[in-house]
Symmetry: C2
Subunit: 193 residues, 2 copies
DNA sequence: GTCTATATTTCGATAGAC
DNA sequence: GTCTATCGAAATATAGAC
């Protein structure tokens, strides 16, 4: 596999970086995990250095995230809360898929301020906007109607906070499962019966 | 200053670790930032190695966080939402104070699973419990009464998520200020007029 | 493209003078 | 306790055979 190795290196690095952090993973460890001889410079046939690998990795994973098709919605016969729960479940799955990339982006944020700004001004703002539209379409309570933008950020922040606690603590941090969390959040954001 | 240097080293390391991550900061950089000659082993008169420094740093900062006295509440004449906003403001200030420590704990979580568990089983669970008590005492809407534990975790997760977005993006990530965020969250969790 | 081998740099850690 | 000096280990990166 001529060009397949490059992707194997990225795959190996993605897992190692997410686990230990970029700075703590030597190139030799990446080589080993990618099935190359550790200590051979084989890595350098594919990337000039570790920095360039990080860039390529982030580019590839962000593109992958962008291209991900949102699952088709089956809304028939559901009430507002139920619809929102479905969305929140999908959001959490998405975050979980992106988990390794997120850890890397966080640990590399100081070395890549332009990337941070790109994410903020596109992904973040788009999330708020779409969250606002969603929540407004679902018979929201007064608190949501009063400031839909802030309510959308509450929704987004809560999901991110839950996801990160899950990641940090290894498993659900408390007695509240993801499903129960999503239901509680959805119930707060919709009037319900 | 005999023992003062030790604390200066910890202070310097706290800032550097939070900024770049523990693994990426060499001992020489810590020495320089603490006013010692970079490359001299002066560091090793105070700590056996970097691992021991991390332990001492985390211990010191966690003790500092535990000893922090919560600001006295002045509740007279406030309604439920207002009381909760006050609490959320204080929570966010607390998180901001702990910012550097939080980054270090996150980046070191794989190397210190016992510490992670200690945090989960004390700080996390205590936060949920006290959040649940607080939110139940404030004329909550039906969604909160249905599952107060989950509602408390929504509150905690939202605050953590907001705080982390602020930290990651450098400043408020979107058009919603901390104050506006706290108001929206408090309004969702209380019936309010 | 991958290997063995190695040059080079950086970092962790210690010895000994002051 | 801090310094200069330095050793040894580990990591980055290159050279050249296959």
């Amino acid at each position: 596999m001529a060009t397949g190795t490059r992707d194997r290196v990225i795959d190996a690095a993605l897992a190692l970086f997410a686990e230990r952090g970029v700075a703590a993973v030597p190139v030799t460890a990446i080589e080993a995990a990618a099935g190359l001889a550790a200590g051979s410079g084989a890595f350098y046939r594919h990337f000039r250095n570790k920095t360039e690998l990080v860039d390529a990795l982030v580019d590839r994973e962000l593109a992958r995230a962008r291209d991900r098709v949102p699952p088709a919605r089956d809304e028939a016969g559901s009430d507002a809360t139920e619809l929102l729960v479905t969305r929140l479940r999908a959001d959490l799955d998405f975050l979980r898929e992106l988990g390794p990339l997120i850890h890397i982006l966080v640990s590399e944020r100081r070395r890549n301020p332009e990337l941070v700004e790109r994410l903020r001004s596109t992904a973040f703002e788009a999330s708020i906007e779409s969250g606002m539209a969603e929540v407004l379409s679902l018979a929201p309570p007064r608190a949501v109607r009063d400031d839909p933008e802030a309510a959308a950020q509450v929704m987004l922040s809560a999901m991110v906070g839950f996801f990160l606690a899950e990641e940090y603590y290894g498993r659900p941090a408390g007695p509240v499962s993801a499903e129960r969390f999503a239901r509680a959040l959805a119930a707060l954001l919709t009037s319900g019966p």
